[in-house]
Symmetry: C2
Subunit: 429 residues, 2 copies
Amino acid sequence: MAQRLDSSDSGFAAAFDAFIAKDRDGGADVSAVVRDVIADIRKDGMDALKSYTSKFDGFELGEDNLRVTAAEIDKAEAECDKDDLKALDFAAARIRAYHEKQIPSDVRYKDDDGVTLGWRWTAVDAAGLYAPGGRAAYPSSVLMNAIPAKVAGVSRLAMVTPAPGGDMNPLVLAAAKRAGIDEIYRIGGAQAVAALAYGAGPIAPVDVIVGPGNAYVAEAKRQVFGQVGIDSVAGPSEILVVSDGKSDPNWIAADLLSQAEHDPSSQSVLITDDAGFADRVEEAVRSQLAESPRREIAEAAWNDNSAIIIVSSLEEAPALVDRIAPEHLELAVDDPDALLNKVRHAGAIFLGRHAPEAIGDYVAGPDHVLPTARAARYASGLSVLDFMKRSSIIGCDETALSKLGPEAARLADAEGLPAHAKSVRVRLK
Amino acid sequence: MAQRLDSSDSGFAAAFDAFIAKDRDGGADVSAVVRDVIADIRKDGMDALKSYTSKFDGFELGEDNLRVTAAEIDKAEAECDKDDLKALDFAAARIRAYHEKQIPSDVRYKDDDGVTLGWRWTAVDAAGLYAPGGRAAYPSSVLMNAIPAKVAGVSRLAMVTPAPGGDMNPLVLAAAKRAGIDEIYRIGGAQAVAALAYGAGPIAPVDVIVGPGNAYVAEAKRQVFGQVGIDSVAGPSEILVVSDGKSDPNWIAADLLSQAEHDPSSQSVLITDDAGFADRVEEAVRSQLAESPRREIAEAAWNDNSAIIIVSSLEEAPALVDRIAPEHLELAVDDPDALLNKVRHAGAIFLGRHAPEAIGDYVAGPDHVLPTARAARYASGLSVLDFMKRSSIIGCDETALSKLGPEAARLADAEGLPAHAKSVRVRLK
C-alpha cells in the first residue's frame, strides 16, 4: 500500500519532508567503473568497443555490423505492423509540429549609445542519441529525442543502441527512420556514450549527447559533460495527480499505475481533498494491479515509493506540488487553469480530467523527456534549444566606443587588468 | 613566441589539429578530494564549513561573521572610488537592459485536433553565485552572473566568495548590492558550492549554482549537478581575432594580450591573410609585453598557448573559426557581417575594428560568462534562461482525446506498457 499522509495531522510536515527527501535512485557509485570504460574507449577505440560489446551484449562486433545499413532498416520496417507504423507517423507529425514552435528568434538592434547588440542561434553540427535496447526498447523515445534535434537543424544525428545478440527492435529502427536519424550503431552502455563523445573507429565525435539509459549510461553522460553537451541525467519516472472527489477513481488509478509500471523505483502520488475519493482510488489501484501483466513492478513502485496525500482544501495543493516538483502533473479538476496559475515547478502539466499523462508520452506533441527527482525546480524538458546555442553579437563604431570605452577601461583598471584597459584606450582619440 | 601556422604549408592540417587538440586545462584529477569535501559538508554542515575556512582562508568562521551584513556592505561601498561606482552603475544598467530582452515568451494554443498545447516559463526559486575572491576579485563577474538571475525573477540570490583572512573586496560588495544579491557568505572553494547545493548552518539550499572558480570549484559544480542546476564548467579564457592587413597592429596586439593577461593557460589567436601584418602584430605584442605589469602571465599564455595563422584568403577563416569555436571572436575587417554569416561556433562575436573584446567584458551588455575550450560548439553564454525553466502544457477534452487516444494506446501496447494504454482506453467511450 502507498503511504497515506494527511495535511491536518500534527506530524504532516515532518512526514512530507521525509517523503520528498527519499532517494529512489539506489545511488550505487558506478563512477570508477565508468571512468575506466571511457579511458579504454579513448585509448583503444574500436578494439575496446568490440571487447565491451562481446562481454555485455553477447555478439562479435566488427566494422561490418557496427552500423545498421539502410537495407536492414527497410527490412525491419517491413516487419512492423502497419497500424503501429501509422501510429508512429501520427506521433512524429504531432511532435514535429509542437517542436517547430520552439525555434528561437535572433535579435539585433542598435541601442541609444549606437552600440550594435543582439544574438544569433545556430544548431550544433552533430548530436548523439542513446536509445535503450533489449527489454526496454521504446520507439517513442527515439522520436522524442531525435525530432527536436532535426527541427533544430542538426545535420548529423547518430543513434547508439545496445543490440543483445546483435538484434534490434524493428519498431525502434522504423522510428529512427521517421525521425531522420543519419547513423545507427549497434553499441550500448557507457562505452557507446564514450564513443559518441570522443569518437571510435568509424564513429566521428558528436557535440551533444541526449537520451535515457541505465545508471552506467547516466554516469557516462555526466563524465563526458564538458567534452560534449548533455541533456539532463534522467532518473525514475514520476506522476503527481491533483484531483477533487469528482474524477472517476478508475481513471485516476490507471494514471497512477501508468507511471508505477515503468520501474520499481517509479513514484505515483495523489493529492486530493476528498478522503472517500482517496479510498476509492486506492481500491481501484488494488483491483487494477491484480490484473496487471506488469504487476510485480507496479506493485513495488506503488507500495514502496508512492503516496496519497489528503488535504483540507485544494488550495493547499500548489505548495505541496512545488515541493515535490514532479516530472508529470495532472490537474484533474473542473478549472485546471486556476491551479495551473498557482503551481511553479513541474516538467509537464496535464489539464483536465480527459488528459491522462500517457497522451503526453506518445502523441500530444511536447517532449516526454522531462526532469525527474525534483529537477523540475530548475530544469526543463528536452527541446529544440538543447540542440542549439546562442552567440552574442556586439558591434561598435568610433562614436559608440567613445561613449562606452572610458567606463570599460575604468573597470578594467579597478580589476587590475591593464591590457584590458589598454585595448580600449588605444582606440580612443 | 606564439606558434606560427600557414594554411598553404603542406603540414598545416596536422599542425592545426594538434593546436586545437591541446589541453590547456592541466587536468589534475581533483574529483576524489572534492567528493570528500562535499560529503563532509552534507554530514557536518556548519562545523565542516568552519574547519575548511580556517584551513584555506585563514580565519575563524562563526555564525556571527558567516554572512556579510547590510552595514558592512554600506561601509564597503563608502570606501569605493566614486568614479568606479559610477562605472559599475553604467555597466549594470547596460547589462540589465540587454538581459531584459532575453525574457522568453509563454505559448498556448489549441491545435486542429482540439488539443490545448503550450509551455510556460518560470524562474527558479533560489540561485547561488560563486564569486572568486582574494587575488582575482572581479566586480564585473558579480554583475554578469547576478543580473540575469534577477531579471529572470529569482527571488533569492545567494553569493559565496572566499574571504582570505575574513576580508572582502569593497567593489565586489558594491557590485553585489547593485545587482540585488540577497545574501552574501564569506566562504569559498568546493565547500561553498556544497553548502549552496545541500544547505549548511543558516544557508538554505539553492536550485541553481553559477559562477567561475578554480579547478576545485568547477569539479564541485560538476558533482552537485543533478542536485542543482549549474551553468557551464568554465575553463581558461580565449580570444580569436580575424583581421585583414588594414587594422592597426597595436590595437590587435592589445586585444590578443587582453586575454593573455588573464592566466598562463589563456589562449590568443590571430587569423590574417597578410603575413606582413602578422609580423607587425607580433612586434607590437612583444613591445606591449615589455611594458606590461602582468608580463609573466601574459607572456606564458602568448608563448605556450597562442598562435598566428596565415591564410591565403579570409574566405578560409570561417572553417578554422568553427574548428576553434572560440569564447571570443573579433572580426576586425571592413565588412564583419559578411564573415559573421559564415561563422557558426563562437561564444560572443565582436563586429568591426572599434569593438575590442574588453568592451564586452564590462559594459556592452551581453554576458561575459561564455563557453570556453571549444564548448561554443554546443553551449551558450550565461543568460536569463539559465535561471528559468519551462513547463509543457497539455490539455484534452473528450473530443480531443477521442482523436489522439487510440494512437497513443496502440503505441503503449507496442512498447509493452499496458497501464499506459489502459489510462487512455478507460476514458474512451
